[in-house]
Symmetry: D2
Subunit: 344 residues, 4 copies
């Protein structure tokens, strides 16, 4: 049994980790920390876990976490990088669900996250936890940076085209839409139901921190510079991301459907839908899957449109983190991740 | 007082027309037709109009409508074109909220709507009712084709760029999102709340009937061919359209904000928001306004992103129809259209 | 023109007041205060009011408000009672949308609101602003306490039965449901869309501050003690209250439908729906109406069930406040309150 | 392995059955019928089951189903009673999720369901599948009638009080609220998102078919007549039922919390929340649990209020059906029912 620790167990990715891990056959939840709710039981804060998780929140500290085989950070950006070096030194492996280890260049990190990185020497060691791209490296990783939710949906959507050199790389567009749980469990007026319900809007159009992460990922695959416009939106629903991806084909005669089916043929958690399909975010709600559809819309023969849906809290966060854990510890990759999408 | 008739008063654009017209100071609702609910009072079907509209639904017929100064068609596509010639002959003016008179070329109409047009000779007479573009022609129009909801939001969003020749016309992208009332009041499984609530999806990506309408409008302005990718999505909310529009500037040094403020300076129902703003659809819910914001996102210097929001049932349908009526009859353009957006 | 001041203009009742007053023909908005947003324009915070309200928020103070004919308090409980005596002394009339002047007994007030009342001498002068019950007194009122949202829906629903002595008073039940805007615009985790969307719950079952207010109102009418069970619930929607009211008839042979139709026959803003109807909250969304239906359900012959719906921000707050203002200043009661319910 | 058949696999209870059974370790899905979608694969209609269920819909017939160890009917009322006698004769056991076998008296059935019962002789054999009440009889049952969704929530909420003789039985009130999936997957205008979203209403107040079912259940336990008022409401959410139950205690000094904790101490799928709790429906979304809380609200010392939440499609339908299947076949009761509530 893996002994597992979770830092930041009261946020939405925290509770999702707890729920999935509670049913994972090879895991024991040893430590769950929460600065605000230390002393309370998990079920007091999250009655949905009554009977499934009997842990109690404790104050976060290296002491409390050392001894865990693996520690998940479900914390705000800037937290994991402060505790990770010591946890690694003490023999725990670390999976960060925040952004601390996603960017490889500490200067880029500092530019987008507004402070110098606390352990830049670990940035190159950290493996970017997108199993569909880095499965091999994950097996031996001590430190895994889980991709952001948008970057997961956008990269899984664009990878086949970029890997195949099939599209112009100087004008990619990612028009992405997220449910409100992506913004976290924060005391903020704009996240109230009265503010976000029955309304739709774009946000952070000038710049968003997921832009450099996606560009880094695509450039690694392409081996060259990429020009990306990235526009996030807030959808009046709780869970789900839908990325609508626009690119121009180098050669309009390519069979894009086949390209996608081939690329993901052996991926257990990525579905390429049949031609003509339009994935709903609910198709993957509560599950660790990504569903993709590719289209060639009327009007511009060179245009290709890819639709990519995930559950932002599962494949976009907690589920993918556990998928990474499985790979890191030689457990079958989909173990504990069989929960089917909740529909309707 | 204008004597007004409404054909198809039980759909969502019908009830919206009824509500706005009930408070219009220069209008008397004379005839409201409904095939399914003839004999019932309006308030039986729509208790929100209790005390405001005391009309009764009657069977649709030219007889019942002749004598009206103006007849609104809030009907499925293909209905207005069958009654319009006779109504015009009898001296009524006609405002069609459906698609029958939106396309000028009967061949294009037949291609996209699947049947020959019933009165192709009227297609060139019909004025396309986007007041911000065709205000002058509307004053003398006998027959007005109200723009579709998506086309209204997309054209108002792109007009300044296209008129100014500021963008490349061969690669425009309109990623548009609509609340579910845009699909109408139809007995269809995909429109159930259990199907559309808490989920987000694209639809009709291969082709959508609003594509030729938008292209016709933009090409008229540009005087040349336009390459447009148009992708509609369904948002789990009732009212509202958000268009996210992507284009590449010919000259990245242009002041786009100023271009928009200048273009719409005298428009009473179009707001250009200050730099950095992100319009919510709720900003215009229940009102006949369009709100726009322009952005230059990080990543591609030539890229411009325009955000455009309207209420699909008001500025995208019933409200714009009444704005057109005001112009046709020499009434001050915003009369009866003062209802403020409902927020929250 | 009445010169009007609003204290607390950034909450949901504040923005609703601003929107209705902006279109009121006999009102000029002179002063709008906000502690947090002083210096900003109203339209910066509420873009839905762009073009309709050009006021700027100022710091709240008696100085800033003196000179107004009437001052609305759209503030948290405990604010109005601190400024009202001086405003009255300077000649303004006051309409409080909070709870400061709703209870007549200062001891009861202190028990339920947790502090001594700041001006108990005004509690008996204050008129309880339910026009359907106290229309006459409102004409000469200097100080009006607007009813709470739940108390408005419950009292309008029960009044005919209680006035007629038709039901047992020792076992009334009010099972009430509110949209989330009733909880206000506060930075609180339980009000996030991720917490309240797609879920339903009761809250404050042991005790809720609207209980003594409703009991006071019913006892005044009944002239005797009343036994009431009051259970509020939170509905995953923004606006609307639905009260389901249970009582036992003294005489099951009474014609309850007729009783209600008779009681509200001359009320311009209360609709008694026909027998068998079930009012939706959307029937009154955005409008100052109350809709009622009465039922005699299968199972217990003595049981009567009344369904009562209002928009919590309009008839339950801002709209009723303006209805009261109209009565206080001899303006026709429904002036400025003609906005029709937004449906769908 | 149990060989399982499902009749009516395309409704919401059908897809829920399919999803739970797909992961059940002792079950093989042998036959799934659908009148409308015969010939299609399950995953075509329900892409959320892609990779988990590879069955194909077939036309319903006794031939297609005979040979199954157990057949679930997830069909409209009146279907199961026509096929059940023959299926039983051929050796299958039957679990009906509709109402065909819920009422024991064929006359009562005919009154409430509008036609004579097709096999009244089976009504007394059928076991009412509320395991918390009839666990013992379920072990040997050939035919199980799964309780309705409302009756499950109401009976679990009231059982402890009724069994203990703690409340007056002549005035019970059940004010119940359901998400829209409870109304099924039907082409009906009132179920559209534009009709039910952002609105709340009561329905069927005069009479609802779950009334006789609840009364039958409570009377069986009480051994005497029961007076119940039952009022259902529609909540703008997809899943979940919240019952708010009102009763008057015989002796107000009773410790109701303890009564409930004691009654459900050994129930694996019923949680009694700690004093003061208010269960959210989301606490049980997607899971086969019932959560209860008991309150003694201010105002009437004899009043007790019980809050009861379930997921209408799981504990209110498909999950409870599978719980019954487990009991019928000697499988551990909670097998396959470990899915945790999805929150947020």
């Amino acid at each position: 049994m893996l002994e597992v620790g979770i830092v930041g167990g009261t946020g939405y990715t925290g509770v999702e980790l707890l729920g999935i891990l509670a049913l994972h056959p090879h895991v024991r939840i040893r430590t769950v920390t929460s600065r605000g709710d230390a002393g309370k039981t998990v079920a007091e804060i999250y009655p949905n876990l009554l009977g499934a998780v009997d842990a109690q929140f404790v104050e976060p500290s290296v002491e409390a976490l050392a001894g865990c085989d693996v520690v998940f950070f479900a914390t705000p950006n800037g937290t994991a990088m402060r505790m990770t070096p010591e946890l690694l030194a003490r023999g725990s492996r670390v999976i960060d669900l925040a952004a601390d280890f996603r960017l490889r260049d500490p200067k880029v990190w500092a530019t987008w996250y507004g402070e110098p990185h606390a352990c830049p020497e670990l940035l190159t060691e950290a493996v970017y936890g997108l199993p569909e791209l880095h499965r091999r490296q994950l097996g031996s990783a001590r430190l895994v940076a889980c991709p952001g939710c948008y970057p997961t949906s956008v990269q899984l959507g664009l990878l086949p085209l970029v890997e195949a050199g099939a599209v112009r790389l100087d004008r990619l567009i990612a028009d992405v839409k997220s449910g409100v749980s992506g913004a976290g469990r924060k005391k903020e007026i704009p996240l109230l139901m009265s503010e976000t319900g029955e309304s739709f809007k774009a946000y952070s159009v000038p710049r968003h921190r997921h832009w450099p992460e996606i560009v880094q990922g695509l450039e690694q695959v392409a081996g060259t510079a990429v020009g990306l416009t990235f526009v996030p939106h807030l959808v009046p629903m709780i869970r789900g991301i839908h990325a609508t991806l626009y690119a121009d084909l180098q050669d309009p005669s390519i069979d894009v459907q086949r390209l996608y089916e081939h690329r993901y043929a052996d991926e257990p958690l990525v579905d390429v839908l049949p031609p003509g399909a339009h994935p709903d975010t609910r198709n993957v709600r509560g599950s660790n899957r990504c569903q993709l559809a590719v289209h060639r819309p009327h009007g511009r023969p060179e245009a290709v449109v890819v639709l990519s849906v995930i559950d932002n809290l599962v494949k976009g966060a907690a589920g993918q983190a556990i998928q990474n854990m499985n790979l890191m510890f030689g457990i079958e990759e989909t173990t504990g991740l069989w929960q089917l999408p909740v529909l309707p």
